[in-house]
Subunit: 267 residues, 2 copies
């Protein structure tokens, strides 16, 4: 039997005071019974892993450890694999998503992460850690609301899902243009633009729930009739017809293409 | 039971006189019993589909048709889906791979193509049609033997395989640098550089056989110890340690990481 898979993608810059998003992550990982593994490889800072471990324990997680290494040749030790095998929550920190792809891609540790996800272990990430969750991720790009030729650079991600492409720091860094480009380039994926301090939980690779203080912008290309994206040159603007956009805030859900608003009338 | 899947990726500029590669494609699709469907969407030229249909019939294919449309809104008609359902070979022509991704991505026709592949239908493509076979494909890039920051632009492909990334016109356009970059960026994939008039057949997403007048360059990143690809800026050169390269020519095979040379002593 397949367990229900769960991803939690966070748009970066989490509010550290109310810590709504990390509380939700810990709750879903089991709270006092949670065994959380932090992967800080995206970060350039040496204390990123330790900081997340402290925060998780303060917020009531049963156990939390960080796997500290920064080179591909160090990925996949027996201790690391055992930590992943017994984890109830795995968290990928911010930084540069290309570091995660190059350090973890094609290692036994990566295979173990995918297996943990499939058995039902919660997998979360913020900023670079959110981008890397996609099979083909947004690696780099430029700002602006208009999609333009080559405004976005893709790269292969860890591939927990191939149905969504996540972008982060979304409105703060004005990234609608690049997310529209990403969806128009391959309309099979749903574009998920995550504002800072805002998250989406994806269950069974299909059902979305939004948390946090900002919004999630969903760019749906499934009904696109035509685009000239393959013809445009020299960073010119790209035409796309019949895109659909949904803007979701805390408590909103998105299931089978339908938005479900939270019931404000309930106590 | 799962059938054996088969891909045939061709490096472009096929020799039209001996037609070794198209003969092999037709032979594997069933020869006189073959039912071949040509997808010319990558091409800007109106007669590309018709030319391939003529060639397939001349070379002895039982049936051949081209699905002629160039806009996403026209993808997925009942006639198209029926043609794919009953095909023994599907062929994607050259042109621009972004056209294939934008016209077919997320349509019912794309889903039918993937299903045909899984049931054992041969899927082949040349040039852009080879690139698009990968889950994350090389969409654009620059020439040169040295991998440099952003030398390659990826984009999502149709995703018949996520274990290989194909590049084409390989030595003719001096693309070793960009293929090394693509592999270093995500070492889980094996880089396959296809010279012109040269092809690789991939069986069961694992076993490779080479055909044609040039070579296939395999860039294997599985043993990479370290790379600075996430740190390099401003198009600087990228360092990578412990890459492995294999150069295969007509008749060579590559199975489980081992090269098998053709037995020249047999008659």
């Amino acid at each position: 039997m397949e367990s229900v898979t769960t991803l939690m993608a966070i748009g970066g810059a989490m509010d550290q005071e109310d810590a709504t998003l990390m509380r939700e992550f810990i709750r879903r990982a089991g709270g006092p019974a949670a065994k959380i593994v932090i992967l800080p490889q995206a970060s350039e800072l040496a204390d990123t892993g330790a900081q997340y471990v402290s925060q998780c324990l303060e917020l009531g997680a049963g156990q939390a450890v960080a796997l500290e290494f920064r080179r591909r040749e160090a990925a996949g030790s027996p201790e690391q694999l055992e930590a992943i095998r017994t984890a109830s929550g795995i968290f990928l920190t911010g930084g540069a998503q290309m570091r995660l792809a190059t350090i973890l891609g094609g290692t036994t540790l990566e295979a173990e992460l995918l297996q943990a996800y499939r058995r039902g272990c919660l997998v979360g990430g913020t900023s670079a850690g959110a981008s890397i969750l996609s099979k083909t991720m947004i690696a780099y790009g430029k700002s602006g609301p208009t999609p333009r030729e080559r405004i976005v650079q893709f790269s292969p991600g860890l591939g927990f899902t191939d149905r969504f492409v996540f972008d982060q720091h979304f409105r703060q860094r004005d990234r609608l243009g690049r997310l529209i480009y990403a969806v128009a380039a391959y309309p099979a994926v749903l574009g998920v633009g995550l504002d800072e301090d805002t998250a989406v939980v994806v269950e069974a690779d299909a059902a979305l729930t939004v948390y946090g203080s900002g919004a999630v912008t969903l760019v749906d290309g499934s009904q696109i009739r035509h685009t000239d994206i393959a013809e445009v040159e020299n960073k010119g603007p790209v035409a796309v017809s019949n895109l659909r956009i949904n803007l979701l805030t805390h408590g909103c859900r998105f299931i089978n293409g339908q938005v479900i608003f939270p019931d404000k009338t309930s106590p």
